[in-house]
């Protein structure tokens, strides 16, 4: 059977099994015909604590492509017995690899992989220590897009690795398959690739179709429409249900994420071409005024929430829409976790009033309402086993593994174009846990609406401390006006940049 036909068939029976249209016995029999091993018969697994793995359970039966496993076995032989270490945030791709996929890599190559899962700021702490010490404690780096500039000299450029070591190059790895917008937004600093795009949480519009229909509203196409819709809902249904919600916790990076979406959406930018802060110009002030107005349509606790609280406010039916990470959508669709399964729909982010071009900004900032998070995976320059790490990295980010991650991990947007069209991924596009039905919108957002933060070494401090602390103070009433708050931020940013 051709591999593509096999995948189609497998996807189809998996989907039927998940929907309950195929019994366990029939599913196993059909899976057996496809040559799934004894390991595939262990059906006792459950849900991830927060939805990421609450995907189609039967999808666990999907295994890596045998040709890739054969390549791993051949190329990995000299490195058998090596142990690789990676510190990563708990993200859908990392958890899918750590929990369900790395065993295939380890069995094929004899290389052991230890994945340390930590909250994002602790990953940064560990990597900083590793880089400062040059000790090579970790072989692979998980690099959040806001750290790309800081770590750009501490990792190998994957293009150089691929061309320099032909004997280790995975056939059909295809670096061109990575979505170009993501390479620019996440993985590139100046002319270097700082790893390859690994995951891509991105802002999309998620809204309660039932509430929108009830009030004869349509998905907001513009930023102004988002406000109008949200106000109508809050006026009609508040305080039980609010029109929209936010991730506005004072002093937290999430507040900065929200800010940039509105800033870019109003035609503003964080920096100008001269490298000076421009968030306090006319457009920046208009954005903060809009945001202040929009906040009045949000639930009262919003300035204490990060994306977690924001997501829960939709999941619990308190808010009717959110402009936030698409990764949440499969969680919302999971009937065992939320009250809104099947009630939410997705749309691309509301259109910006105007947008600056990259040339009109500084430090490679890309304006766009679809604020992009995301991270890259890279091999550390200080690794004691860079070749083994490079083999693992290629496997973890190749199209086949990414398709498995997407079907198992559910939610995160694939970073390769081909994965969006993979039959295994398409088969999951139905209402329910681990859905992929939001991915077409994610793909369109990446292509047309993506906003990306600037790349500069000071950005980690500015985005996680300076800016969100002052914005928090603004919403707490410490400044007399939006202009005063933004001017103060401009002053602080200037001081940080001066060093």
């Amino acid at each position: 059977m051709k591999d593509s036909v096999r995948k189609q068939y497998l996807a189809s029976i998996t989907d039927k099994f998940v929907r309950g249209q195929l019994g366990r016995r029939e599913f196993l029999r059909a899976a057996g015909k496809l040559g799934l091993g004894a390991g595939a018969l262990g059906m006792g697994f459950g849900n991830r604590p927060f939805g990421a793995f609450s995907s189609a359970r039967a999808a666990e039966e999907l295994t890596p492509n045998p040709e890739i496993l054969k390549w791993l076995a051949d190329v990995g032989k000299p490195f058998a017995g090596t142990t690789l270490k990676l510190a990563t945030e708990s993200t859908p791709p990392s958890n899918a690899i750590n929990g369900q996929l790395k065993k295939y890599f380890e069995e094929a190559t004899g290389i052991k992989v230890e994945i340390e899962v930590l909250p994002l700021e602790q990953v940064l702490q560990k990597l900083t220590l590793d880089v400062a010490s040059n000790l090579g404690t970790y072989d692979l780096y998980y690099i959040d897009q806001s750290w790309a500039a800081s770590f750009s000299q501490d990792v190998f450029d994957p293009r150089e690795q691929y061309s320099a070591k032909a004997d280790l190059a995975m056939p059909n790895y295809n670096l061109d398959d990575f979505l170009p917008a993501l390479v620019d937004g996440i993985a590139k600093y100046e002319d270097r690739w700082v790893g390859v795009p690994y995951d891509i949480p991105i802002f999309i519009m998620i809204y309660r179709k039932d509430i929108y229909d009830k009030l004869s509203l349509k998905a907001p196409e513009t930023i102004e429409e988002l406000y109008t819709n949200s106000k109508i809902i809050t006026d009609e249904m508040g305080p039980k249900v609010y029109g929209t919600t936010g991730q506005m916790k004072s002093g937290h990076y999430s507040l900065e994420c929200d800010w940039t979406a509105w800033l870019w959406g109003h035609g503003g930018s964080i920096f100008g071409p001269d490298g000076k802060f421009t968030g306090n110009d006319e457009k920046g002030v208009a954005a903060l005024e809009y945001w202040t107005k929009l906040k009045a349509t949000m639930p009262p606790g919003v300035d204490g929430w990060t994306w977690d609280g924001q997501g829960q406010s939709v999941a619990q039916g308190v808010a009717a829409s959110m402009l936030s990470w698409g990764e949440f959508f499969p969680y919302f669709d999971d009937p065992t976790q939320t009250k809104v399964s099947g009630l939410c729909e997705v749309a691309v982010p509301p259109r910006a009033m105007s947008l600056r071009t990259v040339k009109e900004t500084g430090y490679g900032e890309i304006p766009g309402v679809g604020h992009q998070g995301g991270s890259s995976l890279a091999v550390s320059r200080y690794s004691k086993s860079p070749d083994a790490a490079w083999i693992f990295m290629q496997w973890a980010t190749c199209a086949d593994t990414q398709a498995l991650i997407t079907t198992l991990g559910g939610g995160t947007g694939p970073t390769r174009a081909s994965v969006y069209d993979d039959p295994r991924v398409l088969a999951q596009a139905r209402v329910g846990a681990g859905t992929t039905r939001h991915l077409p919108v994610v793909r369109e957002t990446i292509a047309k609406h993506m906003g990306s933060e600037p790349d500069l070494p000071e950005w980690a401090q500015l985005s996680s401390d300076t800016i969100p602390v002052s914005l928090g103070k603004y919403f707490a009433g410490s400044y007399g006006s939006p202009k005063e708050a933004l001017d103060d931020i401009a002053k602080q940013v200037g001081e940080v940049l001066k060093g």
Binding site: E114, V117, L120, L129
Partner: protein, 293 residues
């Protein structure tokens, strides 16, 4: 003076109110451990009316409790190697061994500081005190480099040493105050009777200071049990203590509050058992010195 009935009722009610106030966070946190996501985040919040589940415990510990209202399926929340049973064991080993280490060294040091006169004694005590004022992060990073060179990163020995050292100043100061409360005349009488310093320490002073040692040990154990910074910086995948694992429930798409609460509720138990075991001595220790001669 006998209390009036209304006063007694008032005192009882006030007592229960205080207990309820301080117990509520533990009750609420534990109740979260028995809820599924829908009940944890329900709005308005539910305090009592929810369907209990043991799923969070099953997920965190990777076991099947097999109750009717639970699930027999289990997963690994950290995504591979974070089942909590071995991690609880890591915490137990590190906390208990570092406590033993700290108490052993501190008892001898504190006795010397309490009984022996030597030049710089007061300065030494002040220096011990000053180490408690130093922010741990100031030493965590140099410690990382040293431990890497000594191959102590990610080992029980490394973390036991660090936690032992971290607790040492506190234990020395506490024990010194307990030894100070034991009259020096007892030592002097024994010396006159021909007992050696070591015999006096072992046979006379140590038994009398049992309560103080127990109190100090409990504090050392709890500090080690809850310590986060060193445990995070000096470990990787080999060893993980409870606070570090607890932080891994903060994921890129939200916090697994149910799992975190289950782990938190379970993590109270060993510390609670330690306190129970030494409770008798603890009460004596904490009140030592309250009645002076």
């Amino acid at each position: 003076m006998p209390q009036s009935k209304s006063m007694r009722i008032f005192r009882t009610l006030a007592g229960w109110l205080v207990v309820a106030f301080f117990f509520f966070p533990i009750f609420f946190w534990t109740s979260v451990a028995f809820r599924d996501a829908k009940d944890i985040f329900s709005w308005p919040p539910k305090f009592f009316e929810f369907e209990p589940t043991v799923r969070n415990f099953e997920q965190v510990f990777g076991i099947s409790l097999g109750f009717g209202f639970g699930t027999q399926e289990t997963v690994n929340p950290g995504g591979g190697n974070f089942y909590m049973a071995p991690r609880l064991w890591d915490s137990i080993v590190v906390a208990s061994m570092s406590t033993v280490l700290a108490i052993m060294v501190a008892t001898l040091a504190a006795y010397c500081l309490s009984r022996m006169q030597f030049r710089g004694r007061h300065e030494f005590v002040n220096w011990v005190l000053s180490t408690r004022m130093m922010p741990p992060v100031a030493v965590a990073i140099p410690m990382f480099f040293i431990f890497k060179q000594l191959n102590l990163l990610d080992t029980y020995l490394g973390l036991i040493l660090v936690h032992g050292l971290m607790n040492l100043p506190l234990a020395v100061l506490l024990l010194k105050s307990f030894f100070d409360d034991i009259p020096a005349e007892i030592d002097e009488s024994a010396l006159l009777d021909g007992a050696s310093r070591w015999t006096i320490f072992k046979r006379i002073v140590l038994p009398m200071a049992k309560g103080g040692i127990a109190a100090s040990a409990v504090l050392c154990f709890i500090f080690s049990w809850t310590e986060f910074l060193f445990a995070l910086t000096l470990t990787q995948t080999g060893i993980k203590t409870v606070p570090v694992v607890s932080s891994t429930f903060v994921t890129s798409i939200g916090t697994a509050w149910g799992n975190m609460a289950a782990l938190g509720a379970a993590a109270i138990v060993p510390a609670f058992i330690v306190v129970l075991l030494v409770q008798r001595h603890l009460v004596r220790g904490l009140t030592m010195g309250s009645l002076k001669q």
